[in-house]
């Protein structure tokens, strides 16, 4: 789960946008009272229109892009509202809203909602607040005399500093500083290309280090929030008091898919498991060896039903547990691998006529359906995969075992569902759609970006961040190889400018 830290920026925006809003309301002809209703699909729709905007680094925009306190709109939201489906009866249905929003966004691109001299489209792409005059795009270039002074200093803060990047690569990937001899030798290199080659060499060595690849190493720890280990219920090596499943399988698969020449989409596509043969060496486990495992560490889901990290025994044990319709499981998968946290109303993609509430949990109530119209169809493909009850296995008829507890309709829940607006027949297709989505590439890139750069992609990072995640998707660039992406990431200004 991404840390939920309050961000002063949006709160400041609330205050200032509130003033802007009041100002707009007092303008001749402006309505004093707004009528509006919540549109949870709006953040994702915004990012369909502007996938490379800074606000869309995570795949969905924040509500503050258009609102003060939703549904009240800020000045930018007001401009959109005036262009949105003029003449169509309010309130708009979700379908109409999504249909007309792109046109409305286009219509206001050249306007300047906060009158700060930067048009809305410039601010959207730069990542500054369109409704906050104090939030303006900034240049990171040094003044000429500063640039020449910086060039003679210990670290050149005005540009990519190769020596700085060389040192950082050692710290980030090897877990130690370069030796003094290495650092002194690096500083004697005068040719820029040679410097970059030396950095790349160092990175190659460090990517095979125990610090990076080993148990409890960097890559391992990236997976913590996705796997959510709990030693108390671990089976296998070093078991806990109540052994339910061995999360080492999950960590090994995660490390495998995130290293070497492996396709990171295997996080959601792999139909194999991986074992550790040394501090930094991993290999796939044969089905014969897997079949011989004792009951406590068996992986009962058959090979042709496996879906990478989201169908493992451990994933079912801690997320599905005893549930018929495993919404928590689907939400955890959505959050971990696509970056959408439904508990915080992210990634909502309302499916018409949902939720059907097959298990009679009351999720059809309007205040619940806001999220469950996305979450429930997202969860249906998980309903054939058992958690603790049912022994972590796959069973097409699993839901019949829940009729006594959840009512007869629970057995009608389909195996197919919806993810990111696409219908899927089962969890395998769910995995494929997810793995090939922009959101997946963004999330993978985001995890490494935040780790290595030290913060979320910022206003000035847009071009480089976008290049990374698009490159991850491209067969001619990184082709879903994390290590290839990292080789370029360490040469970005975001990484190497002190």
């Amino acid at each position: 789960m991404r840390n939920w830290k309050p961000r002063p920026g949006p709160w400041l925006t609330f205050g200032l946008a509130g003033i802007a809003l009041a100002g707009a309301a007092l303008a001749p002809g402006a309505p004093l009272i707004q009528t509006a209703s919540a549109k949870p699909p709006a953040p994702m729709a915004f990012c369909h229109a502007y996938p490379e905007a800074k606000a869309c680094n995570t795949g969905f925009a924040d509500c503050v892009a258009c609102h003060t306190t939703p549904p009240a709109r800020n000045a930018f939201g007001m401009q959109i509202s005036e262009k949105l489906a003029p003449g169509v009866t309010r309130p708009l249905s979700d379908e109409d809203f999504l249909k007309y929003l792109p046109v409305a966004l286009k219509a206001v691109e050249d306007l300047d909602a906060d009158s700060d001299g930067f048009s809305n489209i410039v601010e959207i792409m730069a990542g500054t607040q369109t409704a906050d005059a104090n939030s303006v795009p900034k240049s990171l270039a040094c003044a000429a005399d500063d640039a020449s002074r910086a060039a003679g200093a210990q670290w050149n803060v005005c540009t990519f500093d190769a020596a700085y990047a060389f040192k950082k690569v050692h710290m980030d990937f090897c877990g130690r500083s370069p030796t003094r001899a290495d650092m002194d030798a690096f500083r004697t290199i005068t040719d820029e290309k040679q410097k970059l080659a030396r950095i790349s060499e160092a990175l190659d060595q460090c990517l095979d280090s125990p610090y990076w690849l080993g148990p409890n190493g960097v890559v391992w720890n990236i997976a913590n929030a996705k796997i959510r280990p709990a030693h108390a219920v671990k089976s296998g090596a070093n078991p806990g008091p109540v052994p339910l499943g061995d999360y080492d399988d999950d960590y090994n698969l995660f490390t495998w898919a995130s290293s070497d020449d492996h396709d990171v989409r295997d996080l959601l596509l792999a139909q194999y498991f991986v074992k550790r043969t040394g501090p930094v060496t991993l290999e796939q486990i044969s089905e014969e060896e897997l079949a011989k495992r004792p009951r406590g560490t068996a992986q009962p889901v058959p090979k042709d039903k496996r879906v990478g990290m989201i169908s493992t025994r451990w994933f079912g044990a801690v997320n599905t547990m005893f549930t018929s319709i495993p919404r928590t499981t689907a939400a955890q998968a959505y959050r971990s691998y696509l970056g959408f946290d439904i508990a915080r109303m992210q990634g909502l993609n309302t499916v018409p006529h949902e939720p059907k509430d097959y298990d009679i949990k009351g999720v059809g109530a309007p205040e619940c359906a806001v999220c469950h119209a996305t979450l429930d169809p997202l969860s249906y493909p998980f309903t054939r995969y058992n958690g603790i009850s049912g022994g972590y296995s796959y069973n097409d008829d699993r839901l019949k075992d829940y009729v006594r507890v959840d009512g007869p309709r629970v057995a009608e829940a389909p195996a197919g569902g919806m993810i990111l607006g696409e219908e899927v027949a089962d969890l395998l297709e769910w995995g494929k759609v997810a793995a090939n989505s922009d959101a997946f590439a963004m999330k993978v890139t985001y995890d490494y970006w935040k780790l290595l750069i030290g913060r979320e992609p910022d206003v000035n990072d847009q071009a480089e961040y976008t290049r990374m995640w698009r490159g991850l998707k491209s067969a001619t660039t990184y082709d879903y190889r994390v290590e290839k992406m990292l080789h370029d990431l360490v040469l970005t200004n975001a990484y190497g400018r002190p």
């Binding site: 270039a141 910086a150 710290m171 003094r180 929030a225």
Partner: protein, 217 residues
């Protein structure tokens, strides 16, 4: 530079003769160094306890498993201060990511680690002078009589401290700072006491090892 070191040492010698003296002030330097350019996109990252200790271990020649133990038993990072020094421990403590904001005790823990490491190193140097890394006997004459450390020894020790911990040579100003700091450490004790010299090395090591440059990158 030589004139400044000598005048600094003259101050040390004069003050060593004082039985009780007020805390000696450190020399003020003229603003002769131009201000560096500020970063337009400042970001630094904390080394976290494990990387911090690995660097100190590699550069001070103390095995990682021995370099810092609280109560002589608990590894400073793995056991004692893992989370407040930026580590994670997911299976038992449920800490999946490093803490977002520094804990109140984080800088204190850094100071403890630095003091542990430097005290260790100087103790080892005194026990086995042939393998000394920081505290090298050279200040004391071959006839065994202690004498006030001279400029050469102070320079070399400052270089050893900066070289080991920050992996670079100290600037002139930094050397002057450390040399002048000797008078504070002497603090009314005889400047030619090996204990004073050892304390100066320990505390200089501590100050450099817990400085921002050592702890962040």
């Amino acid at each position: 530079m030589r004139k400044q070191i000598i005048s600094g040492l003259a101050a040390i010698a004069a003050l060593a003769a004082c039985a009780t003296a007020p805390e000696p002030a450190l020399p003020q330097f003229a603003a002769d160094v131009p201000a560096p350019v500020a970063s337009v996109d400042p970001r630094v990252k904390f080394k976290d306890g494990e990387r911090y200790l690995r660097d100190l271990s590699a550069n001070l020649g103390i095995p990682r498993e021995d370099i810092c133990k609280e109560l002589s038993r608990y590894d400073c990072m793995t056991d004692a201060f893992r989370i407040v020094l930026g580590g994670v421990e997911a299976p038992n403590l449920l800490v999946n990511e490093p803490i977002e904001n520094a804990a109140l005790t984080s800088p204190i823990a850094v100071d403890r680690v630095a003091l542990h490491v430097c005290s260790n190193r100087v103790r080892m140097d005194r026990e086995d002078p042939a393998e000394a890394v920081l505290f090298k006997a050279g200040a004391f004459g071959a006839d065994g009589r202690a004498r006030t450390p001279d400029a050469e020894w102070l320079n070399a020790t400052a270089d050893a401290i900066y070289g080991s911990i920050l992996m670079r040579s100290p600037s002139e100003r930094e050397i002057q700072n450390l040399a002048a700091y000797y008078t504070q450490v002497a603090d009314g004790r005889a400047a030619n006491s090996p204990d004073v010299a050892a304390d100066w090395v320990t505390l200089s090591c501590f100050a450099v090892a817990s400085s921002l440059e050592a702890v962040f990158y």
